[in-house]
C-alpha cells in the first residue's frame, strides 16, 4: 500500500512533466489514427475529425488521468487552499478583521481551557504517577472531601490491602533557614519516613529519607531540599549533601535535593523542603506537639498512598469505606461522621475544586460570549463578502461548477481564516497564561498558579478554530451558492431585497449587540465595584504604616526568651528616628487570614463569632483605629482578663447598651471589656462590619501558634518603605538568627486586598472591551454593506429630490434600530443575571443606575458613530454615478 502512495506522490510531484508526456502520447495516438484513416482513403480533414470523434474529449481524459495520480479531494484541497490564500491576501482588511475577531474569541476560550487543563490533567513528576493516590477525610454530613486527617486514623488506614504503602504529611510547615545569608522563612513538608518511597520523585542529587527509620523521636535530623531552594540559598553547591545546614537554629543533615519539577504532592502549595516526622518535637513549636500522633481529635495531616499492582482506585475506596465504618463504630466520639476519600494524586484538593469550578464557570461563560460575538462577526463578514462575490459565484455555477465544490471552496477559506485566528488566539492564550502565572495572590502561603500550556491546549485551540471556521462559514457558503442564477448574473440585487428586516445578517448583529451589552454592563458594574472598593472606609489611617513579620517560635525560644526578644524589638524600633508609634499584632489587618472564634456575652446562650486579635498597647494608635470609649492596654501590666471590642461586636452582643465593664465568656474564661473602638475592616476590604475581639498580646506570647507569626507595625513620618533597612538592622542586632518576612506597607496591603475586585474588574473590563470592539466592527460592517447594496435605491431617492439629511437619517435609522433591538435584549438579560453578579460586587447594586444609564448611552453613541461613516458615504452619493454603476 505504501509503495503505491509513494508512487502516487512521485507522479503528483512530477505532474507537469507527466501531463506533457500524456498530451504527447494522446497526440501521437490521434496522429496514428488519422494516418490510418487517410490510408483507407479519407480526406485529411475528415480523417482528423473522425479520429477526434473516436477519441472523445482529450481534456476530460487528461483530467481523469490526473485524478489517478492523486486523489481528487487532495488536489482540490490544494487548489482551494492556494485560491483561498490568494483571496485572503487580496483583501487584507477583511482578513485582518476576521482573524482578529476569531483570535480574540478563540484566545479567551483556550485560556479558560488551559486553566481547566491545568486543574484536570496535572500529572505529578514522580515515577508511575497513575498509581499514586491522595487520601483525605470525608465529612459524611456534607459529603465534602479533602479534609485533613488524624495520625491515628492514618495509622489504621495504613493497613489497607489495596495499597503497597501509604505516607502522611503536613505541607504547611514554616521554618527559617539560614544559608550563609540572613535567615529567611520557607514553607516545607513534614512527613512520615517512607514519604519518598511512596511518592517516588527523582532526585537532582542525594536521596530521600531512610524509610527504615522511625517516625518517633530519636532519629538524627535530616532534610531534603527542593531544587529552587538549593539554587537560591546554597548556590547549587553539590557538596551540601551529607553536610549540615541550620533549620530553625537546629543542625540538620541534608540528605538530598529533589529534581527541579518536584515541589510536593499538593497541587497548588509548593514545598521548599521536607523533614521527617521524627523531628516533630525538636523542630518547631507550631502547635504540632507529640500528642498529635495519638490524639484522635486533631486533624492536620494529608495522606498519599501507592496502589498495589492491579488495585483500582474504586477498590481502594471501597476498602477505605469499610475501614472508615469500623473506625466510626470503634471511636464514635471523634469518628462518627468521618469517612475517607481516595482519588488520583495531583488533582486539586476536592475542597478547593468547588471554588475553582464556580470561578471557572464564570470565566467560561464570559469567554464563550466573546467567542460568539467574534463568530457572529466572522460569519457576517463572510456573508457580506459572499454577496459581493455573488456574480462570480453565479458565473461559476452557470458554467457547470458543482455546488458542493463551491461550498467546499468557500469553507476552505473560512476555515483558513479561522485557523489563522487560532494561531493568533494561541499566542493570546500564551500571553494570558503568563499573566495569570505572574499573579501573586495575597496570602502568605506560597501558592502556585503557573499554568503550563501543553499540546492539549494547542490541540484545543486548533480544534476550536476549525469548528469556528466550519460552523460560521457553512451558512454563508450555503447561502452564497443558493442557485439563483439569472438574478445574480443580471446584477439584479432586488431579488434579495434592500432591507430585509429579519435577514440573517441583521439577526446576527442584534445578537451581537445584546451580548456586547451584557458584557459591557458587567464590566461597568465591576469597574464601579472597584471604584467603590477603593473608596471604602477601612476604618484605619493606612498611610505611613510599615509592617513586617517574624516568628520567634521557629527558633524554639523559651517563652521568657520570646518575650524578651519581642519586647526588645518593640522598644528599640519605637525609638528609631521618624517612628511615631510602634506596636505588635498577631495578624495584620486585611490579610484574608487570622483566627476566628466564638464567645458568649453575659446571659446569652448562642455564641457570636468574632475575629480574634492579640495586640500590644499602641496598636489602635499605629493603625489609626479610633478609640471611642475606655482605655488602651497598658504596657507592663499583666492583664489576662480584659479585652477591647469593636463597635460591630458591641452592637451585636450588647445592643443599645454601654459595653464597657461588661463581661463575656471566651474559651471558658471570663473577660471584662475595657474599651470600645471603631469598626475597621478585618480580613477583606469588601466584608460587612465584623465583630472583633482584641486581647493583650503579652498573654499570647507564652505560646503563639499562629502560622503568620507576629507582625510589627510602625507608624512613620514620610514614606514608610524607606524605614525597612533601619528596622531590619535593628532586629538583626537583637537576634541575627530571627527570620524577618512579609515586609510591606499598609498601602501595599490594601492594594493586595483589592485583588478580587481588581481581578474581576480586569476580567470583565477586558471581555467588555473585546465585545465592544467586535460589535462595533459588526455594526459598521453590516451598515456599510447595506449601503453598498442600496446604492441604486439611494441614487433614485436622491435623483427624485431626497435631501442629504434624509438619506443620512434613513441609514442611521437602520443601524440604530438594530442597536436598539440588541440593547433592549441585552439589558433584559443583564437584569435577569443581576442576582448572580450581585455576589461578586462590592458596595454596588447589581442594577446600579449609573451603569445601566451610562453603558447603553455609550453603546448607542458608538453604534451611531459606526453607522455615521457609511451613512455619510450614502449621503454624499452622486445620483448619476449611483444609477450608472448598476
Amino acid at each position: 500500500m505504501l509503495w503505491r502512495w509513494r508512487r502516487r506522490l512521485r507522479y503528483w510531484l512530477h505532474r507537469d512533466e507527466r501531463a506533457r508526456l500524456l498530451r504527447e502520447e494522446m497526440a501521437s495516438h490521434l496522429e496514428l489514427k488519422t494516418q490510418e484513416l487517410m490510408e483507407d482513403g479519407m480526406a485529411e480533414q475528415d480523417a482528423r475529425n473522425a479520429a477526434r470523434r473516436q477519441f472523445g474529449n482529450p481534456t476530460a481524459r487528461q483530467e481523469e488521468s490526473r485524478d489517478t495520480w492523486l486523489a481528487r479531494w487532495l488536489s482540490d484541497l490544494i487548489q482551494d487552499t492556494t485560491f483561498a490564500a490568494r483571496t485572503i491576501r487580496k483583501q487584507p482588511g477583511f482578513a485582518t478583521l476576521a482573524v482578529l475577531s476569531a483570535a480574540l474569541g478563540i484566545g479567551a476560550c483556550s485560556l479558560v481551557f488551559s486553566i481547566a487543563n491545568f486543574a484536570l490533567f496535572h500529572t505529578l513528576p514522580v515515577r508511575d504517577p497513575s498509581r499514586l493516590t491522595s487520601i483525605s477525610n470525608l465529612d459524611l454530613r456534607d459529603g465534602r472531601a479533602g479534609r485533613s486527617m488524624t495520625y491515628p486514623d492514618f495509622a489504621d488506614l495504613h493497613q489497607a490491602a489495596s495499597f503497597q504503602d501509604m505516607t502522611a504529611y503536613f505541607a504547611f510547615l514554616p521554618a527559617s533557614i539560614a544559608g550563609g545569608a540572613e535567615p529567611q522563612r520557607y514553607w516545607g513538608t513534614i512527613a512520615t519516613a517512607n514519604y519518598f518511597d511512596v511518592i517516588r520523585p527523582s532526585f537532582a542529587i542525594g536521596h530521600g529519607f531512610d524509610a527504615a527509620s522511625d517516625d518517633r523521636k530519636g532519629e538524627s535530623p535530616v532534610v531534603v531540599l527542593s531544587y529552587p531552594l538549593w539554587q537560591s540559598r546554597f548556590a547549587g553547591n553539590a557538596a551540601i549533601v551529607g553536610n549540615t545546614i541550620e533549620l530553625n537554629g537546629l543542625k540538620v543533615t541534608v540528605a538530598g535535593v529533589t529534581s527541579p519539577g518536584f515541589r510536593g504532592v499538593e497541587s497548588m502549595f509548593l514545598s521548599d523542603f521536607w523533614v521527617p516526622f521524627s523531628m516533630l518535637d525538636t523542630l518547631a513549636d507550631v502547635g504540632m506537639r507529640g500528642e498529635r500522633l495519638t490524639d484522635r481529635g486533631s486533624s492536620w495531616l494529608s495522606a498519599a498512598g501507592r496502589l498495589r499492582d492491579g488495585a483500582s482506585v474504586a477498590a481502594a475506596a471501597a476498602e477505605l469505606d469499610v475501614i472508615g465504618r469500623r473506625l466510626s463504630a470503634a471511636w464514635p466520639a471523634t469518628n462518627r461522621d468521618r469517612g475517607f476519600h481516595v482519588e488520583r494524586a495531583g488533582q486539586l484538593n476536592p475542597g478547593m475544586r468547588r471554588m475553582i469550578v464556580v470561578f471557572f464557570n464564570l470565566l467560561l461563560a464570559v469567554s464563550l460570549l466573546v467567542l460568539c460575538t467574534a463568530c457572529a462577526n466572522v460569519a457576517n463578514l463572510l456573508l457580506a463578502r459572499a454577496s459581493a462575490r455573488q456574480k462570480e459565484i453565479a458565473t461559476r455555477l452557470a458554467i457547470g461548477a458543482g455546488r458542493g465544490r463551491l461550498v467546499r471552496q468557500l469553507l476552505t477559506e473560512s476555515v483558513m481564516l479561522a485557523l489563522m485566528g487560532g494561531v493568533a488566539g494561541y499566542a493570546i492564550t500564551r500571553a494570558g497564561g503568563a499573566a495569570i502565572g505572574s499573579v501573586r495572590v495575597p496570602l502568605s502561603l506560597p501558592v502556585d498558579f503557573s499554568i503550563a500550556l501543553d499540546y492539549r491546549v494547542m490541540l484545543f485551540s486548533m480544534a476550536l478554530a476549525a469548528l469556528t471556521g466550519v460552523t460560521f462559514g457553512l451558512v454563508p457558503a450555503l447561502r452564497a451558492t443558493r442557485p439563483n442564477l439569472t438574478g445574480a448574473l443580471k446584477d439584479e440585487r432586488a431579488s434579495i431585497g434592500p432591507w430585509r428586516r429579519f435577514g440573517l445578517r441583521n439577526i446576527l448583529v442584534v445578537a451581537q449587540v445584546a451580548i456586547c451589552m451584557v458584557l459591557l454592563l458587567c464590566s461597568g458594574l465591576f469597574l464601579r465595584s472597584l471604584q467603590s472598593a477603593g473608596n471604602i472606609d477601612t476604618g484605619m489611617a493606612h498611610r505611613n504604616v510599615l509592617m513586617l513579620a517574624f516568628d520567634p517560635s521557629l527558633n524554639r525560644y523559651s517563652p521568657d526568651d520570646t518575650r524578651r526578644i519581642v519586647d526588645d524589638i518593640l522598644t528599640r524600633t519605637r525609638v528609631l528616628p521618624g517612628v511615631e508609634s510602634a506596636s505588635l499584632t498577631s495578624a495584620a489587618p486585611l490579610n484574608m487570614e487570622g483566627t476566628q472564634n466564638g464567645f458568649t456575652a453575659g446571659g446569652q446562650k448562642t455564641a457570636i463569632i468574632a475575629d480574634i486579635y492579640s495586640v500590644s498597647p499602641g496598636f489602635f494608635d499605629t493603625f489609626g483605629i479610633r478609640m471611642i470609649q475606655g482605655e488602651d492596654f497598658r504596657p507592663g501590666v499583666p492583664a489576662d482578663d480584659i479585652a477591647i471590642v469593636n463597635q460591630a461586636l458591641a452592637d451585636k452582643a450588647f445592643p443599645k447598651q454601654n459595653p464597657i465593664g461588661r463581661t463575656i465568656s471566651y474559651l471558658g474564661r471570663t473577660v471584662r471589656i475595657a474599651a470600645l473602638v471603631a469598626t475597621a475592616k478585618a480580613r477583606t476590604i469588601g466584608e460587612d462590619p465584623h465583630p472583633c475581639l482584641y486581647f493583650p498580646i503579652a498573654r499570647e506570647l507564652r505560646g503563639n501558634d499562629s502560622l503568620t507569626g507576629i507582625t510589627l507595625a510602625l507608624r512613620t513620618r514620610g514614606n514608610p518603605a524607606s524605614y525597612t533597612t533601619a528596622v531590619r538592622h535593628t532586629i538583626a542586632r537583637i537576634d541575627p538568627s530571627l527570620a524577618v518576612f512579609d515586609v510591606r506597607t499598609m498601602d501595599a496591603q490594601i492594594a493586595k486586598a483589592m485583588f478580587l475586585p481588581r481581578v474581576s474588574a480586569a476580567l470583565f473590563g477586558l471581555a467588555g472591551l473585546m465585545g465592544l470592539l467586535i460589535s462595533t466592527v459588526g455594526i459598521y460592517g453590516v451598515i456599510s454593506f447595506s449601503v453598498a447594496r442600496q446604492t441604486k435605491d439611494i441614487g433614485i431617492r436622491v435623483a427624485l429630490g431626497a435631501r442629504r439629511g434624509q438619506v443620512l437619517g434613513m441609514v442611521l435609522r437602520q443601524g440604530l434600530t438594530l442597536t436598539l433591538a440588541g440593547s433592549a435584549i441585552g439589558l433584559a438579560a443583564a437584569m435577569a443575571l443581576s442576582r448572580i453578579t450581585a455576589s461578586l460586587l462590592y458596595g454596588v447594586s447589581p442594577t446600579d443606575t449609573l451603569t445601566f444609564a451610562a453603558v447603553p448611552a455609550a453603546l448607542l453613541t458608538i453604534a451611531a458613530v459606526a453607522c455615521l461613516v457609511p451613512a455619510r458615504r450614502a449621503a454624499r452619493l452622486d445620483p448619476i454615478r449611483a444609477l450608472r454603476c448598476e
Binding site: 502520447e25 495516438h29 473516436q54 472523445g56 481524459r61 487528461q62 481523469e64 495520480w69
Partner: protein, 108 residues
Amino acid sequence: MGKNDLLPGTLDMMVLKTLTRGAMHGYAIAQLLKQLSEDILQVEEGSLYPALQRLELNGWIEGEWGLSANNRRARMYKLTPAGRKTLASETARYRQMTGAVARVMGMA
C-alpha cells in the same frame, strides 16, 4: 470509465489481457481491442489513457518510451508480474460473474 457502457473494471481487465501478447503502445491497444471485439465494444479511445495511468500506478503495467512500427516516438506498455497475477484473478472473477449473470438471465 463511467461514460463507457462497460461493466466497471472490464476495460482495465481487457487492457491487461491485450498486453499478454507483448508490449504495445496506446493506439495499438485500442486497435487490438476493437479488432478482438469485432467492433462491438464502442469504447471512446481516449478513455484508454486514464485506464493506462491507473494500471501503471497500481504497478500492473510499466510504460517506457520507445519507437513504434513506423518509427514514431511512442510509449510502450508491458505487463508486470503483478499485472499477470491481477489478470488471472480478475479473469476468474469475471468468469464467475458472467456465469452468474447468465444463470439469472436464464441463458446458462
